[in-house]
């Protein structure tokens, strides 16, 4: 862990009380290694440690704070600064129904996330309709239908319609004289470099006109995570991120990369397979987790 790494580096300093440039380099290098092991994007790590080094070199080692404490304090401050504040709510329609669209690459947890969001909103006494536009994956529609029932939300049956855009049109007809607070659209997983499928997603967005597009990011993703997030953001725009599968032992560095480079807020964390396993984002907790 970073704590152990720092212990070695700072053993020299405790004797002298001063942080030489060599000490700083070694400490910064430990941070670099820790962040790379946490799957933070390579370029983001380089920029981050460069910023930290500038701040540290500019500091006097004050009499009442150990250099180690000071250094760790700077790291924590820089991280939390990037991670942002929690409690950035879902975008809501000013009047009428709010449309949410859930996107991401294959297997990241979108369909389950749609169920979890519906469950959360229904528990807040909101009326939710779930819609699947995934006409590709075997049994995707059935999967969402089952989750809708578990979440006590309504489900729109596409009744064999094979065109995702037509499904969206049919839904907007269907909800016209109903009083749903939210309609949540599940989409098929697609790769960042799949141009035809990204085009399909753009067409769905144009017809759907979502108030909020949520990108589900698997927290186990490695160095291609930023490329993936950027592709979705450039193609259709991302409003918020659900950082998923955080119930494992992955460090979740993708959160830092996405926030730093794309500036998108992490709105939720997925912490398991059940419908209750969705929490509002906690930047402090994630910062400590990334540092290990």
């Amino acid at each position: 862990s970073l704590g152990d790494k720092f212990n070695n580096v700072f053993r020299y300093i405790r004797g002298t009380g001063k942080m030489s440039e060599k000490n700083i380099d070694e400490a910064v290098r430990s941070v670099k290694m820790a962040l790379l092991e946490a799957d933070v994007d390579y370029k983001v790590v380089k920029d981050f440690v460069a910023d930290v080094k500038k701040r540290v070199i500019g500091q006097e080692v004050t009499k009442n704070i150990l250099p180690e404490q000071q250094f760790v304090k700077i790291i924590h401050e820089e991280l939390t600064e990037i991670m942002g504040k929690s409690n950035i709510d879902l975008t809501c329609a000013n009047i009428g129904t709010t449309y949410l669209m859930v996107v991401g690459i294959q297997g990241s947890g979108k369909t389950t996330a749609c169920g979890k969001l519906a469950f959360l909103l229904q528990s807040q006494k909101k009326k939710v309709l779930l819609v699947s536009t995934d006409i590709r994956r075997p049994a995707a529609i059935t999967q969402l239908k089952i989750l809708a029932k578990k979440a006590n939300a309504s489900f729109f049956d596409p009744e064999g319609e094979k065109d995702p855009c037509k499904i969206v049109k049919n839904v907007s007809e269907y909800v016209r004289h109903k009083d749903y607070d939210y309609v949540i659209f599940d989409t098929a997983g697609r790769l960042e470099l799949d141009e035809p499928l990204m085009k399909e997603l753009t067409q769905i967005k144009i017809i759907l006109k979502p108030h909020e597009i949520l990108f589900v990011a698997d927290s186990m993703m490695g160095q291609s995570a930023l490329k993936v997030a950027r592709s979705f953001d450039e193609n259709i725009g991302v409003d918020g991120v659900i950082l998923n599968k955080l119930d494992g032992d992955t460090r979740g560095g993708v959160a830092l990369s996405v926030k730093k480079v794309l500036g998108k807020p992490i709105k939720f964390m997925g912490l398991g397979e059940k419908l209750v396993d969705l929490e509002v984002f906690h930047p402090e907790r994630l910062a400590s987790r990334i540092l290990g």
């Binding site: 290694m33 790379l36 092991e37 946490a38 799957d39 390579y42 690459i105 294959q106 297997g107 990241s108 947890g109 169920g115 590709r136 994956r137 075997p138 049994a139 995707a140 059935t142 999967q143 089952i146 989750l147 578990k150 790769l191 960042e192 470099l193 698997d218 186990m220 993703m221 490695g222 160095q223 291609s224 995570a225 490329k227 993936v228 599968k245 119930d247 494992g248 032992d249 992955t250 460090r251 560095g253 397979e273």
Partner: protein
């Protein structure tokens, strides 16, 4: 003529970036960089072929490719949530059916919504029989029923789909061990092959996943799914180094034919593209 026997820090940085962004992970990247530095220092006639040297070093990490010698009777497929297990099983089932095997599928994911239905769609498309039980049944009971039913159905290869599970979930890992014990009551260990499906987009967690699954039930081979993404899947080198596990196939798409046999040289080439 000036012979190059130093390597400047910019070149080292470039190497580090290539290796790290390929998800090789920090320990192997450091190891490779140290060996490059040592090689440059030691060899008096070092040309600019650092990449040739790297390719050679990377080859030594991966086990040699081996041919299937014993005829597998049971294929137990597992991995973390959403890694691509069910889809990969469809690809494997088709491949084995085309090779003349009589395949039987076991829908042992009795937990996730529509998991059985998802496999049933593939079983119908491929015209391969499938064993299933009611939702929430013990996965080992599905396996038991499938093993008992193989002979009667004239099937000689059982492929078992299991629920996604995190390697950190003790109960689910215990469930995995129980499945293996159930299988061991019916076939010898040489007739069982355990296959872990890894998502190619995984980073450092890939090694941690493989470690735990290998410790719990032992992994015979790996399949890297979603290799058609931008990810390079470099973590298979740390898995190979620590656990000596071979990658047998790469999943390169969502279609039933999108399965590529693993080639060590092609994979290493792709790392540097």
């Amino acid at each position: 003529i000036v012979l190059k026997n130093t390597i400047d820090e910019d070149e080292i940085e470039e190497l580090e970036e290539i290796l790290i962004t390929a998800d090789m992970g920090v320990p192997i990247t450091m190891e490779l960089i140290d060996s490059v530095r040592a090689k440059v220092k030691a060899s008096k006639d070092m040309t600019d072929d650092i990449y040739g040297f790297l390719r050679e070093s990377l080859r030594t990490y991966l086990p040699d490719e081996w041919k299937e010698t014993n005829k597998v009777k049971v294929l137990l497929v597992f991995g973390v949530n959403g890694s691509g297990k069910t889809t990969t099983i469809a690809k494997l089932a088709k491949k084995y059916k085309d090779e003349g095997r009589k395949v039987l599928l076991a829908a042992a994911d009795t937990f996730r919504a529509a998991a059985v239905e998802q496999l049933r769609v593939w079983s119908k498309r491929l015209e391969i029989p499938m064993i299933e039980k009611a939702d929430g049944a013990d996965p080992s009971s599905v396996i038991y029923e499938a093993l008992e039913g193989m002979k009667a159905r004239g099937c000689d290869l059982l492929i078992i789909d299991t629920a996604g599970r995190l390697h950190t979930n003790k109960n689910l890992m215990d469930e995995m061990s129980k499945m293996k014990r159930t299988i061991a009551q019916h076939v010898s260990s040489s007739e069982l092959r355990t296959q872990m499906i890894l998502d190619a987009t995984t980073g450092n967690n890939g090694l941690m996943q493989a470690r735990q699954f290998d410790k719990t039930i032992g992994i015979d081979e790996l399949i890297l799914a979603k290799f058609d993404s931008s990810a390079k899947g470099g973590f298979i080198f740390s898995i190979a180094r620590e656990l000596k596990l071979p990658v047998k196939y790469l999943g390169i798409g969502e279609g039933v034919d999108d399965l590529l046999p693993f080639s060590r040289d092609d994979f290493i080439e792709a790392l540097f593209e």
